[in-house]
Amino acid sequence: MSSNPTGGPTDVTPVGGRSSTHYVAPLDETPLVSVDAVKVAEKRSNLWIDAWQDVRRRPMFWISAALILVVALVALFPGLFTQTPPNNNCILGNSNGGPADGHPLGFTKQGCDIYSRIVHGTSTSLSVGFIVIVLTTTLGILFGAFAGFYGGWVDAVLSRLGDIFFSIPYILAAVVIMSVLSQYRSVWSISLAIGIFAWPSTARVLRSEILRVKNADFVMASTALGLSRFKILLKHVLPNSIAPVIVITTISLAGAIVAEASLSFLGVGLGSNIMSWGNDINQAQNDLRTAPQTLILPSIALSVTVFAFISLGEVVRDALDPKARALR
């Protein structure tokens, strides 16, 4: 039966030589019922609308979104939140002092207002985060999309390259880059050092998603319509596999903020003239035993921000995954 390329009727002749006739069941057609009707007037629905319907009912989404909004406001308009200058008017007599009138969180070792320094350091951490995700998303989409869509040796080369970058502990690599760039320590150079080693996770997520999507019927349909491979990738495959990338991007942003603080802690981060949470934590570590609050307060600011981004990413990940949604 299987070797009948023309697809015409087949005479089945069993081994014994006797021919037998097939039993064909009578057609049993069911008429269309109400559930089969296509409701044209119904609200349209797609992955994003469904995700929004899901996400708006979850308290964690609103909590993390509100936190991120506040942090963004602080970064953009620090003057709204504090009038105390973070750098000048520091009185050494207040060194490592506790809370005082007008200085709710106390003072750093140099006698500067901790609250004001936290407020003014926000924009640095967030800028590092955003520059890094621009880098990782660009590199990740390039590598992941080509590796997943074209497959074969392109995939082998690009994926192995990603594996190499992935297995290098980013701290070491970033330390090398930062010590080479020791003359140019800025938000840009530290973002470059982090971003170059953070893209493989984005690439890997996108690649596996594209592998799933590229065999879908609409890709075959576009091929049949005569679209070029590259156009199909750009117009159909990529938009349909971008959802997990958005999630991993929020999480990379969180990771980049932590990485900036870690590099500053090692003394190869931002120059001491740039205000950042990482720098403040670094400068506080010598007085850990006597004044732990100078280290813990900027760490809390950092952790809360990073926590907000991670939770947002995870809530959105759950919402974009129809399977996880069905279980809830």
Partner: protein, 327 residues
């Protein structure tokens, strides 16, 4: 199966070799070992500096590929990785320091993996219940806290505990108490106490990552038909979960172990600094900041060998868990 693992081993071996050579070239091009002599007052003569650089085999006037070739020949023929800028042999340094790092890294990652897998399975089984939420947000909190802050917080906690107990219950500075003498048992116990806090920190980092991944893999498995089949056959719920669920869920985990290794190494480097351990992490960081090309190359080789072994181990695990690979 042996052939499969051997083939993967060769694959990883080539990757590690390429990575090490690349690291040598990058370090040679990026670092300038002569710079620290130029800053010295009085400045040594040009001839002296050249002699020192030649002695170390890091003279930038020699083409970098020739230096790489000499380095490889030296390694293969003499088993030597050259000298550090301090004049000590890189191999000796690695031998004396690797034990410190390996103890921390091995104990921490194994316990971290066990705790993470357990929490992940537990979270998946109790999805969206209170305990699952606690584990989930707890792991986000660990992600959100830089490694060194976790270390510092543990130190503050230990100080408070010591103060409350009125004695040194937990020692956490250095890798062992300096000048302590006694039986082998005393020394080992002393080391174990010093290892406690950094290990706890590393376990937290590892468990946070593993539990998230294990939970999501386990959720996929739990909705699979074969779990229902196992239950229908009359297996108890726990037996079905462990024998049919966890075993399958561990297959993708085994590759994740290898991939997460870099994160754990980064974490243990930070912890070595925080707890002032004189291990490979400190060695590598010092090598980079001192522009010590031989030491950077040597520690990269050490790291590459570690990655090689962890990747091969995860392939062995993969093959042991997944019968499809063995054929």
């Amino acid at each position: 199966m042996a052939f499969y693992i051997f083939r993967r081993f060769v694959n990883y071996f080539i990757l590690s070799a390429i990575a090490t050579c690349l690291a040598y070239v990058v370090a040679s091009l990026a670092l300038d070992p002569a710079s620290k002599y130029y800053g010295r007052n009085p400045q040594p003569s040009k001839q002296t500096i050249t002699n020192i650089l030649n002695g170390l085999g890091v003279n930038p006037d020699v083409p970098v590929l020739e230096r790489l070739w000499n380095w490889i020949v030296n390694l293969v023929v003499h088993g030597s990785l050259g000298n550090t800028v301090g004049g000590t042999s890189v191999v000796d340094q690695i031998v004396s320091r690797s034990g410190v790092s390996l103890r921390l890294l091995l104990i921490g990652s194994v316990i971290g993996a066990i705790v993470g897998v357990t929490l992940g399975v537990w979270g998946a089984v109790r999805q969206y219940k209170f305990s699952d939420q606690v584990v989930t947000y707890g792991s986000y909190l660990v992600f959100a806290t830089p490694t060194f802050v976790i270390g510092v917080l543990l130190m503050i906690g230990a100080t408070a505990l010591n103060g409350a107990a009125g004695m040194q219950l937990i020692n956490f500075t250095g890798e062992y108490s300096a000048g302590l003498s006694g039986s082998w048992w005393d020394l080992t116990a002393d080391r174990a106490v010093h290892l406690l806090l950094p290990t706890v920190a590393l376990v937290l980092i590892g468990a946070a990552g593993y539990s998230r991944y294990q939970r999501s893999v386990m959720l996929d498995v739990l909705s699979a038909d074969y779990i229902r089949t196992a239950r229908a056959k009359g297996r108890s719920r726990n037996a079905a979960l462990v024998r049919h669920g966890v075993r399958v869920a561990l297959i993708p985990m085994s590759t994740f172990f290898a991939y997460s290794f870099g994160t754990l190494v980064s974490g243990s480097i930070m912890l070595e600094i925080v707890f002032s351990f004189h291990g490979m992490g400190e060695f590598t960081l010092n090598a980079i900041t001192q522009s010590d090309i031989n030491a950077v190359a040597g520690s990269t080789l050490f790291l590459a060998v570690l990655v090689l072994f962890s990747s091969t181990l995860s392939e062995v695990l993969y093959a042991a868990l997944d019968p499809r690979v063995r054929n």
